[in-house]
């Protein structure tokens, strides 16, 4: 496929995967939605490059990749705060975050350790065009499904872009800059940016939860410990689940639980008493006691925490959890509308 629009992966980073908003409709045959752990940040990145919000981008975990561009490419980096660097004609300059950036053939983007947050999202105008599987391009690592051969990026990969990605990049960037005074030198970005989403601001980070199906099986001491204490995120955490280190939670009534469906954010407690929060790649069913369910609105923030950081689970009601989700959705819509006005095309999309 010579000539097809792509990006070369010179260095893959620690765990960089192609993700979108998830593969829905297959949980009855054991396929979890997967998708971006901090979906709001991916959606914001997509909006910044003029994409519809659910196109596939890169999820960059901790140490990021070095990418070599092969043609005009419009990208945006959101989520974790990186000191990302651009190399343009041998000159190095910082890559601005949370705004659209135009690169050309031969330019390089290097992303190292983030200063804050855990997962960064890179969207490219037109999206990353790997072959969709069961209606989604996202990578489900445990089943080696989707994305680039079902795995994390590796050195030498060529990431396929939309066929018209190069033309789209220039056209969209022209749309963004047509009213600006001519700049000296080659213009690479815009003068505005959007506020990042999901980044936790204090520790321990509050994670709000509604009651779980098996809450009544736990001792009053266990419930008090779960809600009063703080938990440290274990190094054994991954895209399937966040394992928590802290007070062990005992059940008043032990015994087997029949396997039942789980959800994104289910807090399950296995026999060792240490809670596990189920994340994007979780198993669709499970037989552990569910003490709580993390509010959907707080999943993105949890996904931005690293192993070693502390969280505090705070109980909330279902109406509160739904109101949080609604407020978060509205805040994203406001940001998206503001970006679309910059493009001067309220229905910009691909």
């Amino acid at each position: 496929m010579t000539g097809a629009a792509c990006v070369l992966v010179e260095r893959p980073g620690m765990l960089t995967t192609v993700q979108d908003c998830g593969r829905h409709g297959w949980q009855h045959v054991g396929v979890v939605p997967s998708g971006a752990m901090d979906c709001g940040s991916l959606q914001l990145a997509n909006a910044l490059v003029g994409n519809s919000l659910d196109l596939a981008g890169l999820e960059i975990t901790l140490r990021g990749p070095t990418l070599l561009f092969q043609g005009a490419t419009l990208l945006a980096l959101t989520g974790a705060q990186h000191d990302a660097r651009l190399t343009l004609d041998g000159r190095e300059m910082p890559c601005p975050l949370n705004r659209p950036v135009l690169l050309h053939a031969g330019d390089r983007l290097t992303i190292d350790q983030p200063r804050h947050g855990f997962r960064a999202y890179l969207a490219i105008a037109g999206g990353i065009d790997v072959t969709p599987l069961l209606g989604s391009r996202c990578t489900y690592l445990a089943a080696a499904m989707g994305g680039v051969e079902g795995r994390a990026l590796k050195k030498g990969d060529s990431l396929p872009l939309a066929g018209d990605a190069y033309a789209l990049a220039q056209a969209r960037f022209d749309q963004l800059t047509r009213d600006s005074a001519p700049a000296t030198g080659q213009r690479r970005s815009v003068r505005w940016s959007v506020a990042p989403r999901s980044l936790p601001c204090d520790e321990p980070t509050v994670v709000r939860c509604v009651d779980g199906h098996h809450r009544h099986l736990f001792t009053p001491e266990a419930l008090a410990a779960f809600e009063a204490g703080s938990y440290r995120i274990s190094p054994q955490s991954n895209r399937m689940g966040y394992r928590m280190l802290g007070a062990r939670l005992e059940r008043a009534r032990p015994g087997d639980i029949l396997s039942e469906p789980t959800a994104l954010g289910t807090v399950q407690v296995p026999a060792d008493g240490l809670p596990i929060v189920l994340m994007a790649d979780h198993q669709t069913t499970g037989g552990y006691a569910k003490i709580a369910e993390v509010a959907a609105a707080d999943i993105g923030r949890l996904a931005q925490l690293r192993p070693g950081q502390e969280v505090r689970f705070v109980r909330c009601t279902l109406p509160e959890a739904r109101a949080l989700a609604q407020a978060q959705h509205q805040a994203l819509q406001v940001a998206v509308q503001a970006i679309r006005l910059k493009y001067n095309a309220p229905t910009a999309g691909h």
């Binding site: 199906h213 029949l258 289910t266 069913t285 369910e293």
Partner: protein, 229 residues
């Protein structure tokens, strides 16, 4: 019926496994799925429960319990008529010792001969109670009661792909090389899960399943055809 977080509803039909209740759950799950409601993302039947995952945006961030309850009532009122067509799935299996890693062990635990274990497994009429744990990984009910053995104390780190295994009156088929603590009776050469197929999963909840014994030659021929070997 209760919330499973703020974006799903869990309906509990029983607190224990009852095959007739499970059959009902499977019919209901299919009836709901066939309605293709835009606000429903996933319908997940399990052993004695059913989850409906919703899209909160489509529901205006309202309580999903009422719409799910209404939908359930409608489906039940219609008598689940269009879901009677239960799929009959026939799975070739090779019980030779190379594949039936635990046949000897099951024989010792049950006091049956290896051939009797094989016969009773092969003549069990199975039903897919749930697909979970991994993509395409079925939990089959209907195992001959005489074959009920507990889980092995030391799980295997990697179950060979296609292994058919039993424990606690159920039977599973491993779609990938994953860890497992069930006792292996044989192996199917079929590809249990393939996301590129139109029907990615060999097993779907509610299917009726029979195993058909094949010999090593038959296994190899099918495995070549399926590309599993």
């Amino acid at each position: 019926m209760q919330a499973l977080g703020d974006a799903a509803v869990l309906i509990e039909f029983a607190d224990h496994l009852d095959l007739s209740v499970n059959t009902r759950i499977q019919e209901l799950a299919k009836a709901i799925r066939h309605r293709h409601m835009p606000w429903i993302l996933d319908v997940v039947p399990a052993l004695a429960t059913l989850a409906v995952h919703v899209d909160p945006i489509s529901l205006g961030f309202g309580d999903p319990i009422e719409p799910v309850r209404n939908l359930l009532t409608q489906c039940l009122d219609e008598g689940l008529t269009h879901t009677r067509s239960t799929r009959q799935v026939r799975i070739p299996i090779c019980y030779e010792t190379e594949f039936g890693l635990d046949l000897e062990d099951i024989s010792q635990r049950t006091g049956l001969s290896v051939e009797e274990v094989v016969q009773r497994h092969q003549h069990s009429e199975f039903m897919v109670l749930m697909v979970g744990f991994a993509p395409g990984h079925p939990y089959l009910g209907g195992l001959a009661p005489s074959l009920s053995v507990p889980r092995r104390s030391a799980p295997r780190v990697k179950m060979p792909c296609g292994s058919v295994a039993i424990a606690n009156a159920q039977c599973v088929v491993y779609p990938f090389e994953i860890p497992g603590g069930w006792s292996v009776v044989g192996r199917t050469p079929l590809r249990v899960f393939d996301a590129s197929r139109r029907q990615p999963s060999l097993f779907e909840p509610g299917d009726q399943v029979r195993f058909e014994r094949i010999d090593r030659g038959g296994f190899d021929a099918l495995a070549r055809k399926e590309g599993t070997q």
